[in-house]
């Protein structure tokens, strides 16, 4: 394997630097001299394996320069691979971190976070670094002063760090004093007057780390778990979707979302949700009301709290229902005879969840650039850019990428209705040619003759209409026809409800909202 990218982090160098720091700033005491008071002299510590050229510079290129003593020198006497400490070399340790932003003017950290990053660290390799500390002294007293000061540091080890970087898992080590040679001289000294050097030998079990991979964490991970593949190959089971036998999705904090129109809400995992199909309840207004939140309906049957209705272009929500009085969350103007459509929408019960709180767990949202993807039940994904709602922290605005949305394949319907509860000319307006409804219940002559007579959905030749739940019926100007017979359609079809402007999908068996609604944890992704 060739290295295409140069890599050098000075890891051994940093340990040597720290070691020199450990043995630096020691002093020896000189006795009283001409000035009558003892003095302390610092003992310099240098790296002992200097180049001749640097040594010449230090000596000022002169034979007359005086070498100073006492002095200490540190040098490497051994660097071996330490196989006994070798651990799983392919292990990758991951950390998800984010740091704080810096004020560009002051350079100081602010309270705001930056984007979250993923740090992938490959298992470092163990090495044993052996250092020697040579102590050159001019007399025994000096030597003992230094040994006494240095010797008490090690018992027998001394903790050492090469960095204080939180992600550097190889920065911590220890220095182990393994040997002390009191003097380089022999006793008796004889005729040679060599300099006297004490040597301390230290071992340092260090780690050499390969470069880490730092990635911008762009999504709330769908962590795929519980994978088993028959041939026992875990890697292929992960990479090859066809081989997956089971897959579980986990989202951090297990948040789900509700997508309605261009708004997304957070749903905590323990909050119950209501995700209905969204059929309409049609009621007539029985009294004029101006700038009022309460309106009087012909009946409040089936109208529930949380339903929405669109009155004069204003979408309002039902707050409460008392007898035939319906209280809305906004003031509206209605007139006697108006027909209002109430639709049950996907909702949750519980406190609102702040988007910013969650986003800040993972990074910074960039309006218009950050995206949220939803995985629909058929496995297809829709995607749209997001931005914080300017007034409501609990709502994220979602601007769909139209190319990812499914296109309607059927002519739109005016509403989704229960034909056994609504009838034209009453709750429903008089039909015109082309009026279409998606039925949520059967309308069958033999099913309930009494109801059929009440709602009087007429088919061709004056016979009662016969349609099933899931069918789409259409008025041709004279009677109702069934252009979409659900029992005979097996292909996937899409249709839009003109009342709510929501799209629905026929999967061959059932109607469901095509992409709006509740997405549980793991079925949506945030791309920051």
């Amino acid at each position: 394997m060739s290295l295409n990218n140069f890599f050098y982090d000075g890891q051994v160098r940093r340990f040597i630097t720290q070691f020199i720091r450990i043995v630096s700033n020691f002093q020896v005491e000189f006795g009283a001299g001409r000035d009558g008071v003892p003095t302390l002299q610092r003992v310099p510590v240098i790296y002992g394996d200097s180049s001749r050229q640097a040594a010449t510079i230090i000596r000022n290129n002169s034979e007359n320069f005086l070498n100073t003593v006492p002095a200490m020198a540190v040098y490497i006497s051994g660097l071996q691979f330490d196989r006994e400490r070798l651990q799983n070399p392919t292990h990758v340790g991951k950390m998800f971190l984010r740091d704080r932003q810096k004020n560009p003017y002051t350079g100081e950290y602010t309270t705001d976070p930056r984007e979250i990053i993923t740090v992938e660290r490959l298992m470092p390799r163990p090495w044993m670094l052996t250092l020697k500390l040579d102590i050159w002294t001019s007399n025994t007293e000096q030597k003992l002063q230094l040994i006494e000061q240095i010797g008490i540091l090690f018992a027998p080890d001394f903790e050492i760090q090469s960095t204080d970087n939180y992600v550097d898992w190889s920065s911590l080590s220890y220095v182990l004093l393994t040997d002390v040679s009191h003097s380089s001289r022999s006793v008796p000294i004889g005729t040679n007057d060599t300099i006297d050097i004490a040597t301390m030998t230290f071992q340092m079990p260090i780690w050499l780390s390969p470069p880490a991979r730092v990635l911008k964490m762009g999504v709330i991970h769908k962590i795929i778990n519980s994978i088993y593949e028959s041939d026992g190959s875990l890697s292929s089971a992960i990479l090859d979707d066809e081989r997956l036998l089971s897959r579980q999705y986990f989202t951090p904090l297990q948040y789900g979302t509700i997508l309605l129109g261009n708004e997304i809400q957070l749903v905590r995992y323990d909050l119950p949700t209501n995700d209905p199909l969204g059929d309409q309840i049609m009621k007539k207004v029985t009294a004029n009301s101006t700038s009022n939140t309460t309106i009087t309906m012909s009946s409040s049957t089936d109208i529930q709290e949380g339903m929405i209705t669109n009155i004069g272009g204003i979408e309002t929500t039902v707050i409460s229902v008392t007898d035939n009085q319906v209280t809305l969350n906004q003031q509206v103007n209605v007139s006697l005879g108006d027909r209002l459509s109430f639709t049950q929408i996907t909702s949750k019960i519980g406190a609102s969840e702040n988007w910013r709180d969650l986003i800040n767990l993972y990074g910074n949202l960039i309006a218009g650039s950050s995206k949220i993807k939803f995985e629909m039940s058929d496995g297809n994904e829709i995607i749209g850019s997001v931005a914080y709602h300017p007034q409501n922290q609990n709502v994220m605005l979602w601007s769909a990428d139209q190319d990812t949305l499914p296109q309607s394949t059927l002519a739109p319907v005016n509403a989704i209705i229960n034909p056994q509860k609504l009838r034209t000319g009453s709750q429903l307006p008089d039909p015109t040619q082309g009026t279409r409804y998606l039925l949520t219940e059967d309308y069958n002559q033999t099913a309930n003759v009494a109801d059929q007579s009440i709602y009087n959905w007429s088919g061709s030749s004056g016979v009662p209409l016969q349609a099933s739940a899931g069918d789409i019926i259409e008025y041709n100007g004279q009677y109702w026809t069934v252009p979409f017979q659900s029992s005979s359609v097996t292909s996937t079809e899409y249709v839009t409800n003109l009342t709510t402007m929501r799209q629905y999908r026929w999967d061959g068996e059932n109607w469901s909202k095509s992409y709006e609604g509740y997405y549980e944890a793991g079925k949506w992704q945030l791309i920051l």
Partner: protein, 462 residues
């Protein structure tokens, strides 16, 4: 006719004739050798003068500064009985109490010596090159050299030298020279033979061209005499020696030669007019210290404190239920923060606790996200939710956060500066670099750091 013989029991005229010829050889053919003559070692007794007059029988003496004095130190001088020692030290009043009253009146300014009586390191009353400073290790460390420089003539074989690169720098490999001197000339000038410890300078080896051209003086070549023997070539027909051979090695900037190097003026001056000494310009010490400082600074950059820094990391605020809290740190009353608003911490409080970043030695006593911290030894009574207090009376200091009902521990400030930094709070540093003092029951300030061998050492009763 007496038998012919050059041998005489005493120095004869033959000897003197030949000795003069030998001397002339050195005068004519030799080179000047400047000799720094060792005259002994410096006394380690610290002599001071008493501040106030004392009368006969007094046991309390007032001195300028008693900070370095300890009980048991010997006191000597005129009027002091033998074996008088310090019985008590009062660093507030700057007085010492001695075991025996003085035998005579002493005026202010009278000299007194206070020192440890160490038989293996005797305090010689005389000054002599025969004294040995340390009788245990048999070495003279704080050598005293004659302030006069003696000029001799010497002859030696100049040889080529190679630099030997060693761990402490480069040394001259053939660094031992054998210098021949005329014996009687040496004795007549020095009063004795050259001896081990004498330092010589060879003026003909001055280096006028060091690499650093800012060095204000030529670099001198010094050697220290290791041993002196009679030279084989210096014997005449009379069998008497006329020359000596000094085995010399290059001088190093060591404790033993401070009395030379620190007091020889280089000929240049500091900006304030003080002379620049040879040791300042000719030793590698300053350069090595600079190199050492640079390494320490780099080490400080790499690891400013023990443990790991998480100050730069964002700590996610948490609600009480464990879900993510408000990262803006606004107060609980302000729940509707505009997306476009610029969040500042000036007017806001961190009303939620933050996630802990686990790790070894990560506690630094700083609040998450840089929220302000009050350093105190007690909790404030008017705290509001989110206030942080670092209790400095805890060891290690402990960071608390007020959650509206109680002060909850956030972390201990376990990170410490390293090295010789005064704020180093590691256990080892607390013992090694302890600088504190305490005041004992008698009001005397005592150092906290003491050697085990000297603590509670029994003193004399009288």
């Amino acid at each position: 006719m007496p038998r012919l013989s050059m041998w005489r029991e005493r120095h004869s005229n033959d000897y003197r004739f030949q000795d003069r010829r030998a001397s002339e050889i050195y005068t004519i053919g030799g080179t000047d050798v400047f000799v720094h003559k060792i005259v002994g070692t410096y006394s380690q007794i610290q002599s001071v003068t008493i501040s106030n007059a004392a009368t006969q029988g007094d046991t309390v003496l007032t001195l300028p500064n008693v900070a370095n004095y300890e009980i048991g130190m010997t006191v000597s001088g005129v009027g002091f009985a033998a074996n008088t020692v310090v019985r008590q030290v009062n660093s507030v009043a700057n007085t010492i109490t001695i075991t025996s009253g003085i035998s005579t009146n002493l005026d202010a300014g009278s000299p007194v010596s206070v020192f440890w009586n160490t038989p293996d390191r005797p305090n010689y009353l005389n000054e002599s090159e025969r004294n040995i400073q340390d009788l245990l290790f048999l070495e003279n460390r704080d050598r005293k050299y004659d302030s006069d420089v003696y000029v001799l003539r010497g002859i030696y074989q100049v040889s080529d030298n190679d630099f030997d690169l060693q761990q402490f720098g480069i040394f001259l490999s053939a660094d031992t020279i054998l210098v021949s001197f005329h014996l009687n000339d040496t004795v007549s000038k020095l009063g004795r033979k050259l001896m081990s410890g004498d330092v010589i300078e060879l003026p003909h080896l001055k280096d006028y061209y060091p690499l650093d051209t800012d060095i204000p003086a030529a670099l001198k070549r010094y050697y220290v005499v290791q041993e002196v023997t009679l030279e084989a070539q210096g014997f005449s027909l009379t069998w008497f020696p006329h020359t000596i051979r000094a085995k010399c090695t290059p001088l190093v900037d060591a404790q033993e030669y401070k009395d030379i190097l620190n007091y020889i003026e280089s000929g240049a001056f500091h900006a304030n007019g003080d002379p620049i000494m040879v040791s300042e310009i000719q030793s590698t010490r300053n350069r090595l210290n600079e190199i050492n400082d640079a390494i320490i600074q780099q080490a400080q950059v790499n690891v400013p404190q023990s443990g790991y820094s998480t100050e730069n990391l964002y700590k996610q605020p948490l609600r009480e239920d464990g879900f993510p809290g408000d990262p803006t740190g606004t107060t609980t009353d302000n729940t509707n923060v505009s997306v476009d608003s610029t969040i500042t911490q000036v007017d806001s409080q961190n009303n939620t606790r933050s996630v802990d970043i686990p790790g070894y030695l990560v506690g630094d006593g700083k609040a998450p996200a840089g929220w302000p911290v009050t350093h105190s030894t007690s909790f404030p009574t008017d705290a509001t939710t989110g206030d942080f207090v670092l209790r400095t009376d805890y060891v290690p200091n402990r960071l608390f956060r007020f959650d509206g009902r109680r002060w909850t521990k956030v972390e201990d400030a376990v990170r410490s500066t390293l090295g010789s930094d005064p704020t180093n709070s590691t256990q080892l540093d607390n013992f090694i670099n302890e600088r504190g003092t305490y005041r004992d029951s008698q009001g005397i300030e005592q150092p906290v750091q003491q050697a085990l061998s000297k603590i509670l050492k029994p003193g004399a009763d009288n």
